[in-house]
């Protein structure tokens, strides 16, 4: 489904990603861990098409298409979804209105009928209920005045409505209490299917107890330095990241 080959990315003249290789098949869940500033969000943003990054080498194939050649909205319509580490507040734009516009843009692209306001509201209410999200958030401006947890929940709510084929979750668990974490994880697990894949960026092994990954990768200074199964996450939790550099023959500790 997704194949990243030798991806090099710079921003403002500084190389952030220094040769990423990653293959994600349908049905798989990949977790990406790594120290602060290692390039995890950059990878997520580049996959979603954010401007301001220079791709200096490499390619990304998504369902047989050149992903890097597509506009952000085209990627979204083809099934890429990014749950932001820091969701943006959009004053004046109503959550429900915006999400219906988004869903209908995607449905048009798929050649499906658009949903009218009533149909959409019904869908939105049922999904909000599953995520135990306060219904009043539906009619508020997107993320405006939402608490940190509400913003994260809103991301997963959007994902459950848009039903992407590739969900990229950037630290969706950060700042969530254990109850919220369980609910959000259930929301993600409900979407897991043989056709759908997830890339989950996290700092905490805790999340991976609820969303069990097939693979765990460690990103350090712009490179995937180690890959393994879910037990790698447990090891990282115990030992931190520095041993990986020592293993690679480097002496300096990680900041």
């Amino acid at each position: 489904m997704l194949e990243i080959r030798n991806l090099h990315v710079s921003a403002e003249g500084k190389e952030i990603l220094r040769g990423i290789d990653l293959k994600v098949n349908p049905g798989e869940v990949h977790s990406i861990m790594g120290p602060n500033g290692s390039g995890k969000s950059t990878l997520a943003h580049v996959l979603s098409g954010r401007e301001g990054y220079e791709i200096t080498a490499g390619e990304v194939d998504f369902k047989g298409q050149d992903l890097l050649d597509m506009k952000p909205e085209e990627r979204a319509r083809e099934g890429v979804f990014l749950a932001f580490q820091y969701p943006v507040e959009i004053p004046g734009v109503n959550n429900t209105y915006f999400l219906r516009a988004a869903l209908n843009a995607i449905r048009r692209h798929r050649g499906e009928e658009e949903l009218d306001a009533m149909e959409f509201l019904r869908l939105a209410r049922s999904k909000a209920k599953l995520l135990k999200m306060d219904q009043s958030l539906l009619s508020r401006p997107v993320n405006e005045g939402f608490s940190g947890g509400e913003k994260k929940r809103n991301e997963i709510f959007q994902m459950s409505i848009l039903e992407p084929t590739l969900g990229i979750l950037d630290e969706t668990d950060s700042g969530l209490d254990i109850d919220a974490l369980k609910i959000v994880s259930e929301g993600v697990n409900a979407l897991r299917s043989p056709e759908r894949a997830f890339v989950i960026v996290t700092h905490y092994q805790r999340l991976l107890e609820y969303i069990v990954p097939d693979f765990v990768h460690v990103l350090d200074r712009g490179r995937i330095v180690k890959s393994g199964d879910k037990t790698l996450a447990l090891e990282l939790e115990k030992r931190g990241y520095s041993w990986l550099r020592e293993e690679a023959g480097e002496a300096q500790p990680v900041a």
């Binding site: 979603s48 506009k71 952000p72 909205e73 915006f98 516009a101």
Partner: protein, 443 residues
């Protein structure tokens, strides 16, 4: 100042003064007398230039370059159907229609249909109606402001809306000024005028539409005076969609008596050179005043909003929110003066001016001016000039919304802060559809 510039300046003012009507036309002596004084005042003052502080950021070159031919012009509009085609001309409420400054009985609703309300042309009522004599020219600043003086000297007719005490007028009252330019009658001058007198505990909504039709250049010099009586509520809208070759200069004078509420919303959608001035004064305690504004400016057009709120009495609140959207190489000026007099304790005043620049050639000059002579007051102000938030655009795109749609959505939401406060549903709908037509061209 070079001689040539001096010459143009003189010329424009002289031409305008020369056009002022001199014949009596059956007007009462007091009015003729007032007009004479106003004309003298205009001739003494002349048109302002940028050395005058209040005009520092607005150049009247476009006006001064107009070679005025006459103040008489075609006013045969050709029937109601054509009026219905103009946006903001039909809002499903009683209306008074003026074509090129002249009252049109044919296009207006029946003036006698509203109980407790006097509705009609000022000219006809000048003799008999006590309010006209008591208030006409009283609230506008014709002694200081050349354009107010010019209007008073020259205005042919205008709308009078007088609401008796205790009357709540159910439907908004709509005053439509159509400026019809056929390209051959130009450049001409019109002086639209509105006088609103809301009696004690009355309630009324008033919409002024200033609409251009046809092509060619003209100068519309509008004056509105509003007296909001004790405990009365006035909701006033001025929607302006003049031709882009037109110059529109307007001035609103308002006096609020004790415990009164005034909301005035100035919506600027057209005109090549525009200036909207507001002078609003609290003359009694316990008043509430809300000044809202929205301006959409494109091409090389220039819009100047100049407001002054005079807190002369204690315990009054004012809220001011102006928002502007600028495309191409548009220019906008916002000056918001708030003057709190000595003794106007417990004043609570809040002012914001937010501007969205859609092009890096557009320019905004915004300046709050607080003058506070009382010590127990709460006054805040804030101005912003910014571009669309790229992060927000990207966020919407990652949900499948095209970049263009995302931009429209965000600009629309920005304008919505003002549009959503419009209390007349039909007007809000018309504004919405105008916005949705205007916006995509600018993203």
């Amino acid at each position: 100042m070079t001689e040539a510039v001096l010459e143009t300046k003189k010329n424009a003012a002289m031409k305008l003064a020369g056009l002022a009507r001199r014949e009596a036309n059956g007007e009462p002596d007091w009015l003729l007398d007032l007009r004479g004084k106003a004309l003298d005042q205009f001739q003494v003052k002349g048109l302002p230039d940028r050395k005058v502080e209040a005009w520092r950021d607005t150049d009247l070159g476009r006006l001064k370059a107009m070679d005025f031919q006459s103040s008489t012009r075609e006013s045969d509009f050709g029937g109601v159907e054509r009026l219905e085609d103009l946006r903001f001309a039909s809002l499903d409420c009683p209306r008074l229609v003026f074509v090129n400054g002249r009252f049109s009985t044919e296009l207006s609703s029946d003036a006698d249909s509203l109980g407790g309300v006097t509705l009609g042309g000022i000219a006809k009522q000048a003799d008999a109606n006590g309010s006209v004599r008591a208030h006409l020219g009283e609230l506008s600043k014709w002694q200081d402001n050349a354009f107010d003086a010019l209007n008073l000297a020259m205005f042919e007719d205008g709308a009078l809306i007088e609401v008796q005490g205790g009357i709540e007028v159910e439907k908004p009252i709509h005053v439509v000024f159509v400026n019809l330019s056929n390209g051959q009658n130009g450049p001409f001058v019109v002086n639209p005028r509105v006088l609103v007198v809301a009696g004690e505990s009355s309630k009324v909504s008033i919409i002024e539409s200033h609409l251009g039709s046809g092509e060619g250049s003209y100068f519309s010099n509008a004056v509105t005076e509003i007296v909001t009586g004790d405990n009365a509520t006035v909701d006033h809208y001025k929607v302006q969609l003049e031709l882009e070759s037109a110059v529109h200069i307007s001035s609103l004078g308002s006096v609020q008596e004790r415990d009164s509420n005034l909301r005035t919303t100035v919506i600027t959608l057209g005109g090549g050179l525009v200036r909207n001035e507001i002078n609003s004064v609290f003359a009694g305690e316990g008043g509430w005043s809300e000044l809202n504004g929205l301006y959409l400016v494109d091409e090389d057009h220039h819009v100047d909003n100049f407001t002054r709120i005079g807190h002369e009495k204690a315990h009054c609140d004012s809220r001011e929110m102006y928002r502007g959207i600028l495309a191409d190489s548009a220019r906008a000026v916002f000056r918001g003066r708030i003057v709190v007099s000595e003794g106007a304790q417990q004043t609570d005043s809040k002012q914001t001016n937010n501007n969205l620049l859609l092009s890096d050639r557009a320019l905004v000059n915004t300046k709050p001016q607080l003058e506070i002579y009382a010590d127990d007051v709460k006054c805040t102000h804030g101005a912003t000039v910014g571009q669309l938030d790229d992060d927000a655009v990207f966020y919407l795109q990652t949900r499948g919304i095209s970049k263009e749609d995302a931009r429209v959505m965000l600009i629309y939401a920005f304008a919505g802060e003002v549009v959503n406060r419009v209390g007349v549903e039909r007007l809000r709908e018309e504004l919405d559809s105008h916005l949705l037509k205007w916006l995509p061209r600018c993203v």
